[in-house]
């Protein structure tokens, strides 16, 4: 049983192919995040699921029904847009009830659904306001409310937090997570922010250049990146990738230590310290190993100085090896 099934999905703009036949199966109530750098085809894929973009070839099923030629409204989905796309001349209440009015739903039922959604999102006091009178976070909530009232089994989110400032983004992120737990809808969420992907997703789909690089739970992807790109994209700061004797070695900054003690199977490298970035609780030590950048994350203050030559250590099991030409993980199963 799958909620959304994507088979060999292709998108072409003229001669230019931007999505190269991807396959993806999304289960009911799953929170799937499509993540990747800009231009990787994640938004295009989402928009094809939404029905805002035509499918060049391949097939999309929603709820076991092929939707390739269905209008967005007939796909039983709701969508939250990056810039919210609230109707500026309507009050919050009218924004929320617009879709239901178009469905010719009963006045009483509309009121009930709007109230429900407003209560979930804490919008009760704002119902008569216009979008122009709301803050960024409130507008974001209204945008989500517009999806909630529709009561559809699938929500699509297109970079919903990228217009908010950092603090609000963290807050809304937890709200989206709570919302998912409460509503139990299937969510497909597009972002370029790997922190959002890690924190929100049941499963992450990492994309690049129109291909899926890896699908897996956040921890799977963190622990076992399928290739050097995924390793370098996921994690903050991302995995250090250095080339030694024809192989690419991936080392997570948080796995590297300044002393060998406590490591069961340490491997050492000589490194020259470049810059220190103290963050209070931790310090990022930027170093050069064989003239390649390696960032080390240590707890507290790092007892090193710039231009000092030090030894850094990592447990052998925490190293990942990638093929130099294909970038594929060598110990990946």
């Amino acid at each position: 049983m799958s909620q959304i099934l994507i088979k060999k999905l292709v998108k072409k703009y003229g001669q230019n192919q931007v999505v190269h036949g991807i396959d993806l199966e999304i289960k009911p109530k799953e929170f799937v995040v499509l993540v990747g750098p800009s231009g990787c085809g994640k938004s295009t894929t989402l928009r094809m699921i939404a029905g805002l973009e035509e499918i060049s070839s391949g097939e999309i099923q929603i709820g076991n029904k092929v939707v390739n030629n269905l209008a967005p409204k007939d796909r039983n989905i709701a969508m939250v847009f990056q810039n919210y796309a609230l109707y500026p001349h309507m009050s919050v209440r009218e924004n929320l009830s617009f879709a239901l009015q178009l469905q010719k739903m009963d006045r009483k039922d509309i009121d009930r659904r709007v109230r429900q959604a407003a209560e979930i999102l804490g919008l009760m006091d704002l119902l008569e306001r216009r979008p122009g009178q709301l803050s960024g976070g409130q507008r974001q909530r209204v945008a989500m409310g517009r999806a909630i009232v529709r009561n559809t089994p699938v929500f699509l989110f297109d970079e919903p937090l990228s217009n908010l400032d950092a603090k609000l983004r963290n807050q809304m992120r937890t709200e989206i997570k709570k919302l998912h737990m409460r509503m139990g809808t299937t969510i497909v969420y597009v972002t370029h922010d790997q922190v959002e992907a890690m924190t929100l997703a049941d499963r992450i789909v990492v994309m690049k250049d129109g291909y899926i690089q890896q699908i897996g739970s956040p921890l799977e992807i963190y622990r076992n990146p399928a290739n050097a790109f995924v390793a370098g994209f996921i994690g903050s700061p991302p995995t250090n990738l250095i080339e030694i004797s024809g192989q690419i070695i991936g080392m997570r900054p948080e796995h590297i230590r300044l002393e060998a003690e406590g490591l069961s199977n340490p491997v050492g490298y000589q490194a020259q310290v470049e810059v220190l970035e103290p963050l209070g609780g931790e310090t990022l030590v930027h170093t050069l190993v064989l003239n390649q950048k390696v960032i080390v994350k240590c707890e507290g203050l790092a007892p090193v100085r710039p231009s000092q030559v030090i030894q850094i250590y990592i447990d052998k099991e925490n190293q990942r090896f990638f093929d130099k030409t294909s970038g594929k993980a060598l110990n990946y199963n």
Binding site: K73, A78, M79, F81, A85, L86, Y87, H89
Partner: protein
Amino acid sequence: MVERTPILDFFSYAFLVLGIVVVGFPIYYCLVAATLPLSEVLKYPMPLIPGEKLLENIRAAVEKGHLETQLWNSFLMALGITVGKISVSIISAFAIVYFNFRIRMLAFWMIFMTLMLPVEIRILPTYEVAANLFSPFKSLFRIFNLEFGLDFSLLNTYSGLILPLVASATATFLFRQFFLTLPEELCEASKMDGATPMQFFWKIVFPLSKTNIAALFVIVFVTGWNQYLWPLLVTTEPSMDTIIVGVQHLIPKADQVPQWNVAMAGALVAMVPPIMVVLLMQRWFVKGLVEHEK
């Protein structure tokens, strides 16, 4: 911002006052002339202090020129042009911006190119068509040596006054530019919400265009009201005269009593409706502008 520029301020105000005098004096002169008795208005120079005969002069003008019929005709014509122009151009701009059809760009450029042509340039062919709606078919048929028997004339009708002035490239262009500033996501969101294209038009695009419509209403109404050449050509019966054409009849001819006071009173009457429209709609502008600020 605090800035002290006394000299610049002085010149700014001087220019402003000069501008007001240049624009305002002829109107004031007309107003004064309309209040004077015949003996006073013929004095040289004419006094610049208003007299008491305003109502009498207006009554004389209305009687002499049948201004009430003409006011009604002008009002119908201006309103027809305004409503027609706005409806046609908003819907064609909607089509050009939101629909991806094959000849979209061609359609847009065809409309855009007609921007360059004032009514006067196409007045002869337009008259030909107004005189007989089927004349294009007639010409076509004549090429093949056939006779097209139907005739339908718009001369001396309200449709004849209104229809040729309804299509407007300027208004279409303005609406197009405005629609392009609306975020694309509004259209997509309404698609997701299940709105049909016309529901999107009526519930989203139209309400958002209100300010633009108000602005266009004023401009188009005033230009429509002030049309002179076209009404002069297309109407021959006095009962179809518009007031701008009618005022011309009030102007004294060579061997008449030079009743300039009555002519000016007529001109005043002709001026009132457009001024009313400007004043009434201005409150709309301001309202629209204030709401945009938020």
